[in-house]
Amino acid sequence: MSEELKTKGDNQNRHNKEQVNGVQYLSFTLANEEYGVDILRVQEIRSWEPVSRIPNVPHYEKGVVNLRGSIVPIIDLREKLGIKFTEYTPLTVVVVLQTSDEKKTRTMGVVVDSVSDVITLDKTKIQDAPDFGAKISNEFINGLVSLNDRMVILLDVDKLLKLEETEEQDAGDN
């Protein structure tokens, strides 16, 4: 009887272990490369719509849109990662993500070519991003994972969407 219980417990453990190591990512493509973000950070997926431009900000910050009453900035991921910019098409997709830093949680949209799939990964299979030296910055990259022989680049949402704070030029004003 006790043995039976034990096996049951073992089964449970194994199950839990899978749960602990299994993480879900939303994958999307940028110039034929496949990227993934933690699905828990994804708020919604929208089609591209024109934005209101924000003056004098980095070129990859495209502007802001009205997302049910809140003003949400839209960031072009191609440009942010230094991939060649392409014109937006009706298939262009905006993934709305939640990001947080030590101060607060923000909502932001990123423009990607298309959304592919929801993938479940085993945490232990995730490989650290190799060091590309000065060629490519790997600061946004959480790791790499192989899925059906395709490489998926996992992005760190918080680091990716960390806004470079413009210096407080008008500090004297306050």
Binding site: S52, Q169, D173, N174
Partner: protein
């Protein structure tokens, strides 16, 4: 059938407090000198409706009390009575008293009848003008101390010299004195009974015989009565004619001129005898005797009021008074929604695919109406900041009198709308800051003159919207913060290391530390070193921050930034290329259609436009914001929106004006960050986002 009146009590109290507030502000306006019958009318109306209401609800105490006030005001309104400072003080005291009464009634507590009685007596004395017997030893209001004062004067004179004392009376009846059945001769006889008296008559005003009306009194007299006579006795004689003549009663002592002038009770143009109380400053001693008991009185009354006020406020906070236009707009919108909805259901009943366009249109309309409705509902929560500001004139008036300082309070941007919750929470910190400015900031008049500043100090309260924030500034032109002193004090208190080097900003931050105070003496107004830290904590708990800019000898500016997600501003939308921006209407002076040839260049770069006789700098919006210019801009046509920033004009060159509109300010910082030259964003009718320009920031940005 009986109606339960108690259901209306809440409304009644709210109306009363509102009435009291308008009375108070009216009274404070009165004492600036110019007498405006409209203001008196406002005060009178306030008193009248309180009286009426309290009568209806059976609060007879209140009704009786208000009745006396009303009588006094009525006489002022009809011009039968001069408006004098003591009268105003008594009325102000009475307003406080009424407020206390009403709050006690509201809280279903018993009314402090002793206090009520005191003010009642004061009012009655003011009313009858026969301040013959000082009924209490503790002066209850300005009337009695003033009367005491008259006697003090006599006493002072007694001690100093043994001269003969007496009264000089200028008696100048109006033409119709005789018609009222008064006989001057009878009064003179009564005067003669008081002491040795002499009389001289002035016949200069007698018209030629042909025009003489025997029923008119064209004579005036100068009388002198010698003897130690209380003024009240003289007043009593003239009591009957007080409305019908100009009366000038002065005491004098023969032989020595000096005390006579000191103790002189002048009455420049105040006919009713009550006005004797207007002279609370004859002899220095007397002045002191008057000022100290009378001044703290309203103060104390107010202090008494504060807790009760607070409780009343918390009780009332569940209701809100809304401008009816806001409600009307809302009702209109609900109407629109209902119409759209019925239209949609009509389409839905027999739907065929060819009605698809119609359906879409209807849905879009519905969406739009609902958005508008949402905006209006939010708008209802907004109240003008004058709800907070309105209590400060009184505060400044009372405290400045008490401190003997001359202070003018300027209120700017009172109509700035703030969320009701913010209004309630910001009020106490503001009171504290203003008290600080009054007590520490503004110097004594003598000190100010010595520093080459105008004798009267100013405190400016300024509220405006800036992005998703409301900014409230308290600006005084007082002595400013002394950095060295602050640091020394902090070191002394062990709050700071001796060798610490601080910038201005850091040094000023010190005053927010708990237990920090540089005041040499602790007064009941401020100086205990609690407070500023509490103020800051309160403001921070509202999600705001507080900053200080100060220049020694010049003044201090304290600005409070509070977040305001619901702020609504009036804006002008302008087009620049394909973008639409909102310029806050408050900063716009005018807009002018121009062509590029009308601009002048300085050193080939800086552009100016000649606005009448003034060259103003031009900011090209599509350049500064890197917007692709449209064809129109290439033709060199456009509009200059002349904006003002701290008194400096500047022109924004835009493509065209699109029209004014109210916009709900949304913060860019919630999900994004602060952007130079932009104070926030708003959502336009079509759902797209437009940026709201921050004019000062824009000008600064373009200057770099």
């Amino acid at each position: 059938m009986s109606i339960d009146m108690s259901q209306f009590h809440q409304v009644f109290f709210e109306e009363c407090f509102e009435g009291l507030e308008s009375m108070e502000s009216g009274l404070l306006n009165l004492d600036t000198g110019a007498i405006d019958s409209e203001v008196i009318n406002t005060i009178f109306r306030g008193a009248h409706s309180i009286k009426g209401g309290s009568g209806t609800f059976g609060f007879t105490d209140v009704a009786d009390f208000t009745h006396i006030m009303e009588t006094l005001l009525d006489e002022m309104r009809d011009g039968r009575r001069q408006v004098t400072q003591p009268a105003i003080d008594v009325l102000l005291g009475s307003v406080d008293c009424l407020r206390t009464m009403l709050t006690s009634i509201q809280a279903e507590e018993s009314v402090d009848s002793a206090a009520v009685e005191k003010y009642k007596t004061a009012l009655e004395i003011e009313l009858t003008g026969s301040a013959s017997e000082p009924s209490t030893t503790t002066p209850t209001a300005a009337t009695q101390p003033a009367h005491d004062n008259a006697e003090t004067v006599v006493v002072v004179a007694d001690e100093d010299m043994v001269e003969e004392k007496g009264w000089k009376i200028g008696f100048c009846p109006y033409l119709d004195l005789l018609k009222t059945g008064n006989d001057p001769v009878r009064m003179f006889r009564e005067l003669a009974e008081l002491g040795e008296y002499s009389v001289s008559v002035n016949t200069n005003d007698i018209p030629p015989f042909s025009k003489l009306d025997p029923e008119e009194c064209n004579l005036s007299w100068a009388l002198e009565v010698i003897g130690d006579i209380p003024e009240s006795e003289i007043r009593e004689i003239f009591n009957w004619v007080e409305g019908d003549c100009e009366l000038d009663i002065q005491s004098f002592t023969k032989k020595t001129a000096k005390p006579a002038s000191e103790a002189k009770i002048t009455e420049p143009e105040a006919p009713p005898p009550v006005q004797e109380i207007e002279q609370p400053k004859p002899a220095p001693i007397a002045a002191k005797a008057v000022d100290s008991p009378s001044a703290p009185k309203p103060q104390a009354a107010q202090a008494d009021n504060d807790p009760s006020k607070a409780s009343a406020k918390s009780a009332a906070s569940n209701s809100i008074r809304v401008d009816t236009t806001k409600i009307d707009t809302l009702i209109n919108m609900v109407g629109e929604v209902v119409i759209t909805q019925s239209m949609l259901s009509l389409i839905g009943e027999n739907f065929t695919m060819d009605k698809l366009a119609q359906l879409k249109r209807g849905l879009a309309q519905l969406e739009r109406h609902i958005r508008d409705m949402q905006q209006s509902v939010m708008n209802i929560r907004m109240v003008p900041i004058s709800f907070v500001f309105s209590r400060f004139p009184r505060l400044v008036h009372d405290i400045s009198t008490k401190l003997g300082k001359k202070i003018e309070l300027k209120l700017v941007g009172e109509s700035t709308e703030v969320d009701k919750a913010v209004v309630e929470l910001i009020s106490d910190p503001l009171v504290h800051l203003i008290r600080n400015s009054l007590d520490h900031g503004i110097e004594m008049p003598a000190e100010r003159i010595a520093a080459g500043k105008p004798e009267t100090g100013t405190i400016e309260l300024n509220a405006y919207h800036r992005g998703g924030h409301i900014v409230i500034e308290i600006i005084d032109n007082g002595r400013g913060l002394n950095k060295a002193k602050l640091i020394a004090k902090a070191v002394e208190k062990g709050l700071l290391d001796e060798n610490a080097v601080l910038g201005d900003k850091q040094a000023f931050e010190l005053i927010f530390m708990p237990g920090f105070s540089t005041a040499e003496s602790i007064t009941d107004i401020s100086g205990r070193g609690v407070g500023m830290d509490v103020v800051r904590r309160n403001i921070q708990s509202l999600g705001g921050n507080i900053e200080i800019i100060s220049e020694l000898g010049k003044g201090t500016t304290i600005s409070i930034h509070l977040p305001l997600t619901l702020a609504i501003i009036d804006g002008q939308s302008v087009a620049v290329g394909d973008e639409i921006y909102i310029v806050p209407l408050v900063s716009i002076k005018e807009s002018i259609n121009i062509t590029e040839s009308m601009l002048n260049k300085i050193a080939g770069k800086g552009e100016t436009y000649r606005l009448r006789n003034l060259y103003i700098p031009i900011i090209r919006m599509h350049e500064i914001f890197n917007v692709q210019p449209t064809d129109k801009a290439n033709t060199g046509e456009g509009v200059i929106v002349v904006v003002e920033r701290q008194g400096v004009l500047c022109g924004l060159f835009v493509d065209e004006l699109l029209g004014p509109q109210q916009v709900v300010v949304k913060s860019l910082e919630t999900n994004y960050r602060r952007v130079q030259g932009v104070s926030g964003a708003t959502i336009l009718g079509d759902g797209s986002v437009a940026l709201i320009l921050d004019i000062p920031g824009l000008v600064r940005y373009s200057n770099r």
